[in-house]
Amino acid sequence: MLASRPFNPVPGGVMMRIRGLIVCLFIVVLPPEASAQRQLARSILFLDQSDLRGPFYYDIFRAFRQRIAAEAQSQATIYSESLDLSRFGGAAHEQNVREYLHEKYRDRPIGVIVAIGTATLDLVLRWRSELWPGVPVVFGLIDANDVGRVKNEPDITGGTVDLRLADAIRAARAVVPHLYGIVFVGDDWNRQVVFGHWKEEMRTATAGLQVTELIGLPMNEIRQKVATLADRTVIIYSAVYSDEKGGFFPPAVTLRFISKSANRPIIVAAETFLESGGIGGFVLQPEAIGADAALRVLRIVGGEDASHIPITPTNAVKPIFNWLQMQRWNVGESALPEGSEIRFREPGLWQQYRWQSAVAVTVLLIQAGLISILLHERRRRSDAEQDARRRLAELAHVHRQSIAGELSASIAHELNQPLGSILTNAETAEFILDSPDPDLREIKEILADIRHDDLRASQIIGHMRGLLKRTPFELKEVDLNEVICESFELMSAQAATRNVALYLNTAPGRLPVSGDSIQLQQIILNLVFNAMDAMTEIPFGRTIMGKTVVDGGCGVISISDSGPGIPTENPNEIFDPFFTTKEQGMGIGLSIARTIVQAHKGRIWAENQPEGGATFFISLPLLPR
């Protein structure tokens, strides 16, 4: 019966166009009691037209199986057969397969036949009355235009796909603006089990475009040609199953070879081609096909009549593009058709290391919080320090004023020296000028001397003013030797008046420290005054010895006197505020001195000398040279 049925086997026997004949088949084949004889068996025979080596059919099957396993209440047995129709064909092969299936499943009651692909469906329709009479059929991956062939079949349902060449062209235009040409790459259209109908659509779909067909060519030739394509062309890949050596491969694998040579982007129409080097397009999603078939099977297994389940389009075609290829061909996301999905986009750091990133961000936030708290504290501290410095500067100023007061008598005497010289010199000059023959050279000498003395006087006043000036605490590089020399100079007149011998012995070179020279000078003056006061009771031999030495990284100033020493157990008590041994002392001089020294990050201390007298030490860190 089947052999007599007219059909049109294409050489290679893959695509069979039997549209129109199905009507009579239906009448002949279908027994009237078919639906009544329905097997209640839960076994499913899944047939596809390829083999499962390629990812496309495998994905269909996987989705199908997954869905059945997830939904079926009782265990459904799934048998699967790959008819391998893209590689084998012809009446003999079909006969073998038929007998094989017949024998294999003789004792296996099959509940539902699943036929994936047009070629499979053609065979199933031819064989069903003999092999699986009354068994409902579910099909998938049937072009919407081909669905007419099942119109009069009983107990059949399935999903159709709408894989249009026009969509591929749309995708091509999106990928290459101002598209000029299309290059079709694939096996003979007749051998194409999924894309064969494109040949018929070609004329209308490619209107206005230059079309090149690299169809049915050996692989090496394809690879040569796709390497030298013109500008503004796009390759549309259907499927190539063989390489130049005659080996058969799944078309996803052959696409990989082609893509390596291609100098233009490749539009594809199957989701599984994306990974192999296709830039994308409106692609078939195998999982959707498998899932759709599974849903139909489940309904039938659940007791529904297959003929009552409408044949509907499977929503299996979707614009999907490959990000890596888009980068390669410089295609922007905005150029893609609306609703396009982009695959293989490099995941961002956030997507890749979500929780690590979250931890890192949290840590950073906590750190930032801590830092801002610390900064705030530091700010407060520096404000407080500034405040303390300002107070110190004020206090030091008050104290300096009292020192300056004590110094004023000797300063006046100091000033008298240059003033006396100036007066005498000026009078001498007048005298010379009054003479009949004035000696101008001498006048010049006198003027030079006057200038020198004037500068000297202003220097003395400058020192005094420095002491009286209210200055903010300011750290600069100062030479300890210079500070002590100036201080001793200021004190020299005072020392002479009070019959005290001042000696100064400085370390060689400079002793640079970071300091406020006025305040340091103030400390030294204070110490020298104290030493003088301590020696008032001594009738003779009043001596003050100033000294600077380098000790480690510090410059040390020492001021020794020949007085009675410090009359207390602990000589360093004297630095406490309001501690005084003088009748009219306030007891603030040394405490101010200590505060100043501490503000200089230095140390001040006092010792009684074994041979008598006290020595005060000031140690300040030297600046690196």
């Binding site: 020296q417 006396g420 010289s421 007066l423 010199n425 009078e427 001498e442 001397d449 020198h452």
Partner: protein
């Protein structure tokens, strides 16, 4: 009056100014940075001179120098120069024989008269001293016997007593006495006594100094 001014001051600038002024006023000038310096080169007194001395000089002070010079028999008048008026120090200096005390800054119309006065003063004391030296020289020319006679004569002894004391004849004593009058350049006993007075002979004798017996 021409003369020499010795300036002692540790301040080189003031010293120079004073020196210049003094030279312009027509004086010879010698300068010293310290009291010791002056002592080391003790100035002679062959002509009128004076010392301008800073009270506050390091080392030996002005008053110290004044004392040392007095001990050395110097008659150089000292004008003290001070930085500021210190009444106590001034009184002390004047008592110790200071010629004057000037306060810096010193106007020329104070300084020049002061120097002039000092030089004049020195000239006077220098004249007195010269005459005394002359008398001493004359005294020195007397023989020991004549000196004995001179000392006894000015103590009011008559020839007879002298002869008795010295174990000589009255006549011999008379001859000695005549030579003494001659050598000492006097004509009368009164003049001789006056001279002895000036030479301080009487006081020394009454103190037992140089007593003959």
């Amino acid at each position: 009056m021409p003369g020499t001014v010795h300036i002692v001051d540790d301040d080189v600038s003031f010293r120079t100014a004073l020196e210049r002024r003094m030279r312009k006023a027509g004086y010879e000038v010698a300068t010293y940075a310290s009291a010791q310096h002056l002592l080391d080169r003790l100035p002679g007194e062959s002509g009128p001179a004076c010392i301008l001395l800073d009270v506050k000089i390091p080392g030996l002070s002005g008053p110290d120098l004044q004392q040392r010079l007095a001990e050395l028999g110097s008659t150089l008048p000292i004008i003290f120069v001070t930085g500021y008026a210190d009444v106590r120090a001034t009184v002390k200096a004047i008592k110790a024989g200071a010629e004057d005390v000037l306060t810096k800054p010193i106007m020329s119309d104070q300084l020049l008269p002061a120097v002039e006065r000092a030089l004049a003063h020195h000239e006077t004391s220098r004249g007195l001293k010269a005459r005394l030296d002359e008398l001493r020289a004359r005294l020195a020319r007397l023989t020991p016997r004549e000196t004995q006679v001179f000392e006894l004569v000015v103590q009011g002894r008559i020839n007879k007593q002298i002869a008795q004391q010295l174990g000589a004849t009255e006549r011999t004593i008379k001859a000695h006495r005549h030579r003494v009058m001659e050598k000492m350049g006097v004509d009368s006993l009164a003049e001789l006594v006056s001279m002895a007075e000036r030479l301080d002979v009487l006081r020394r004798l009454s103190a037992g100094i140089g007593k003959v017996d």
